[in-house]
């Protein structure tokens, strides 16, 4: 009955001991590693919040700028040159019918030189045309303007006969692929095609909007998508996104890209695209059960109404709001910092019944003073008048000159416009209800109860939308009834997020495929990708801080009445949030933003600003006092430049330059002296003919990262390369 000799037992005991030790070791390693990953996740989340906050703040800025333009439009004498400058944003000067545009867009007169080595397209397009096109773009070639216009012309003709809502079925066991925002990221589109196959009869696709802006290959993406749609009109479906809007394009890079790539014909191309965008379908429904649209829904979403409206009349969404919408104006509207998502609902002033004539003023007069009562009045009038400005009646040429005072707003128009904006701009929220989306300035935030109600009402089972960047490329919400799909990987920065697409079969169960385009073949480790994105976010944040320097210093000085130059970290955090309104965790970020601290948690804020950033040596400009305005409002500035550059030449005259600054100063309600403007102009090299190149001007004012940052960058990368040498 013995259990064996003594030796084996000893061996067993040693073995057991070893097992125990290795188990404890494994546990230790796991415990340590999970903590490490958690810290990285915290950093990644903070970085993400930074990018989002800055992005949304930028969008808010844009809304304000356009609201301001709308205001100007209503209140300046018809003859004033300022009005002329911005009039074409809101009015269509040309009142031709669509069919009369065709000669304008004619490509036939455009010669293709023998030196052109890119693809030659023949119409009707064939599959080999498209593959040639895709290959060409892969090799960074550009399609000649003649073929661009030809292709766009065909696309326009096709889109005009498509319904507002495309109905698709998964018959013949076809799986449909759905892609979200691409934002000019050609490599992501190519990656999707590589993984999933090119669009074809067997491989149908839905592209859910936001094809352009931000990325650098927006026009190429459009050309590819349009080409596929022309060849496979029953199998490739496009939905309009909020970035398919020429006003948004002015700010977010698409206009600039087209004008840069097509110097001669860019303007024509943009004009044709303007029409094409307005003709893009608004939604796709699969098997009458799955609704796909770009932004989302609201509690008033009505697909029957949407199917019937004239979608091409809604050219741009970003404008003054009509009845039922919200109006945000100027500085009085800073939203609560504690949450970008938290909304302060604006209550309207009592609906004005009297519409009396308001004195028309010149720009000069306005910039000096406005009385609050007048502001109220104007707000009211714009609410009612603003509609006719952009929801134009093409069939009524007189409307573009209609007097806003006497404009009759049809309830149906307002309703239709709201339906479209809600579809393109809304975001889901976790709480029940439906509230205006003030962060974006259009559409709403809708809750799970609204999803339930709208889906039930239309007998649908799933809503697929895009519009929001997600770290994993997709995200379910509202009890998995809403699925967000985002297809531009590395959207904020390399490594910031994955992209994804959906495969949907007859069972209507969405299957998500993720990917990440990487510029190098080596995959970044978690640590590296977090580090890199983080550095980028912090750089962007430093720019924001620098741009608000005088406001920040004033805020700090309030806490430092004795002018010691030093305040506590706690106060630094509070003051910074009060000025920037980004809703960011400043205490958590402090160690990354403030190097020059700190004896016992105090900070010398003047030292801090010195360390924050060095910029391009244009030190003479420091005297003009316009430097900070430049940084803070450089997006607005660039947008105004591009609007003023009516012939899209990329050049503006000194006079136009001066008028830009005047416009900006009115909007900001600050005084900018003529002398300051001339000083600024003098410090720039003019072209010989006295014009300014917009691109060069903007480039000159990009903040350059300080040397500290650069060294730290080098240190980090050298440690990381211990195992991964490129």
């Amino acid at each position: 009955m013995g259990c064996g000799s003594a030796k084996p037992t000893q061996h067993n005991q040693n073995h057991k001991l070893q097992l125990k030790k290795s188990m404890r070791s494994a546990l230790l390693i796991q415990r340590w590693y999970r903590q490490y990953v958690a810290r990285l996740e915290m950093r990644r989340r903070c970085t993400w919040n930074i990018f989002q906050s800055i992005e949304y703040a930028g969008q808010q800025d844009q809304i304000k700028l356009y609201n301001f333009f709308g205001f100007l439009m209503d209140h300046f004498t018809p003859a004033s040159s300022e009005r002329n400058l911005i009039s074409h944003i809101f009015r269509e000067n040309e009142v031709f019918q669509d069919v009369e545009w065709e000669p304008y867009f004619c490509y036939k007169s455009i010669e293709v030189p023998d030196t052109y080595a890119g693809p030659h397209l023949t119409f009707p397009l064939t599959v080999s045309n498209i593959t040639e096109l895709v290959e060409a773009f892969k090799h960074k070639e550009q399609l000649h303007a003649r073929f661009v216009l030809q292709l766009l012309g065909e696309t326009w003709r096709l889109l005009r006969v498509l319904p507002n809502i495309t109905e698709v079925s998964t018959c013949h066991s076809k799986e449909i692929t759905i892609c979200g925002d691409l934002h000019g990221h050609l490599e992501d589109l190519l990656l999707v095609f590589y993984k999933n196959g090119l669009p074809s009869v067997e491989t149908p696709y839905v592209f859910n909007g936001d094809f352009v802006d931000r990325g650098k290959d927006s026009i190429e993406i459009l050309l590819i998508l349009f080409a596929f749609q022309l060849v496979y009109p029953n199998d490739v479906h496009l939905n309009r996104g909020n970035h398919e809007d020429h006003i948004v394009n002015l700010r977010y890079g698409f206009t600039k890209e087209v004008l840069g790539k097509y110097r001669l014909h860019g303007k024509k191309i943009l004009k044709l695209l303007q029409k094409i965008f307005s003709w893009l379908p608004l939604a796709t429904v699969i098997d009458q059960k799955v609704l796909i649209l770009h932004g989302g829904i609201s509690d008033t979403t009505d697909l029957k109404l949407i199917a019937k409206l004239e979608r091409n009349r809604c050219r741009q969404a970003v404008k003054s709001k009509g009845p039922g919408g919200q109006y945000s104006d100027g500085e009085g509207d800073r939203y609560s910092a504690a949450g970008r998502r938290r909304v302060r609902s604006l209550t309207h002033s009592n609906p004005a019944t009297a519409r009396h004539e308001l004195q028309r003023r010149s720009l000069q007069a306005y910039s000096i003073r406005t009385s609050p009562n007048v502001e109220e009045e104007l707000r009211e009038r714009r609410r009612w008048a603003g509609l006719s400005a952009s929801y134009e009646r093409i069939h009524d040429p007189i409307s573009s000159d209609s007097d806003p005072d006497s404009g009759e707003v049809l309830e149906t128009d307002a309703e239709e416009w709201k339906q479209i904006v809600d579809m393109l701009w809304s975001d889901p929220m976790l709480q029940d209800g439906c509230i205006p989306n003030e962060v974006r300035g259009g559409g709403c935030y809708w809750g799970p109860d609204v999803t339930q109600e709208v889906l039930n009402r239309h007998n649908l089972c799933l809503l697929i939308r895009s519009h929001e960047c997600k770290q994993d490329g997709y995200e379910f919400c509202h009890n998995r009834k809403v699925l967000t799909i985002f297809s531009a990987s590395n959207y904020y920065e390399v490594g910031s997020n994955r992209g994804a697409y959906i495969r949907l079969g007859p069972d209507l169960n969405p299957h998500v495929v993720q990917y990440q385009a990487s510029r190098s073949t080596r995959e970044l480790t978690l640590r590296q990708s977090v580090g890199r994105t983080e550095r980028s976010a912090l750089r962007a944040l430093r720019e924001q801080l620098f741009a608000h320097k005088s406001d920040l210093i004033s805020a700090f000085e309030e806490y430092d009445p004795e002018h010691t130059g030093v305040i506590s970290m706690e106060r630094w955090a509070v003051a910074t949030e009060t000025v920037l309104h980004l809703g960011l965790p400043w205490r958590v970020l402090r160690s990354q933003l403030v190097g020059c601290s700190t004896q016992e948690g105090m900070i010398n804020y003047n030292d801090w600003f010195r360390e924050l950033a060095l910029m391009d040596p244009n030190k003479e400009l420091a005297h003009t006092g316009l430097l900070e305005t430049m940084y803070r409002h450089h997006s607005n500035l660039e947008t105004i430049f591009r609007i003023i550059d009516t012939d899209h030449s990329g050049l503006i005259s000194f006079e136009e330059f001066r008028q830009t600054w005047k416009l900006l100063s009115s909007h900001l309600k600050m005084e900018i002296s003529d002398k300051a403007i001339s000083d600024l102009a003098l410090s720039i090299d003019f072209n010989k003919d006295g014009s300014i190149d917009i691109n060069e001007f903007m480039e000159a004012f990009r903040l350059v990262d300080c040397s500290n940052g650069a060294t730290r960058l080098m240190q980090l990368t050298s440690t990381e390369s211990l195992y991964h040498t490129s």
Binding site: M23, Q35, Y36, T525, G583, Y723
Partner: protein
Amino acid sequence: STRYDLYRVLHAALCLFAICSEAIVSELHKRISSAFDVFDHESNHTVDVREIGTIIRSLGCFPTEAQLHDVIAEIEEEEPTGFIRFERFLPTMSRILLEHRFRPVPEDLLLQAFEVLDQQKRGHLDPEELTRYLTQEGEPFTQEEMEEMLSAAVDPDKNLIFYKDFVSVMTVDDPW
């Protein structure tokens, strides 16, 4: 009168202690609140329960998964909603920090742990061995966790894990 002096000194010391600890606690609350806010997406003082582990760890704690579950059980609602409210999180987290619970893993202990697994004392481990240990023993890694660690730990030329180097790289001063 010496006794009276003693009382006075004691009283002063207690007051001082109270002030200091109040400051300490206040500082602690702010740290906890900041970390919590990062995941409070709806700005309504709640976070998804699945992020609690990240929050606790980012505050410098090194709990095991089991310990984490215990903490969550303590702070969850009586009827779990999937969300944790800040009012319940704050007191528990404060106590954890004040008591220095879930202390960090010092570098030398970590190294020893790897050495235990390296039974032949070669100074390195095969990816397969490490995978076996970490996905089968202790509180096993998921495949994703394992892959991520390997991507950082494995020397691509030799396909081995030189754990001494790995540990020192990973414990480089984290700016946060």
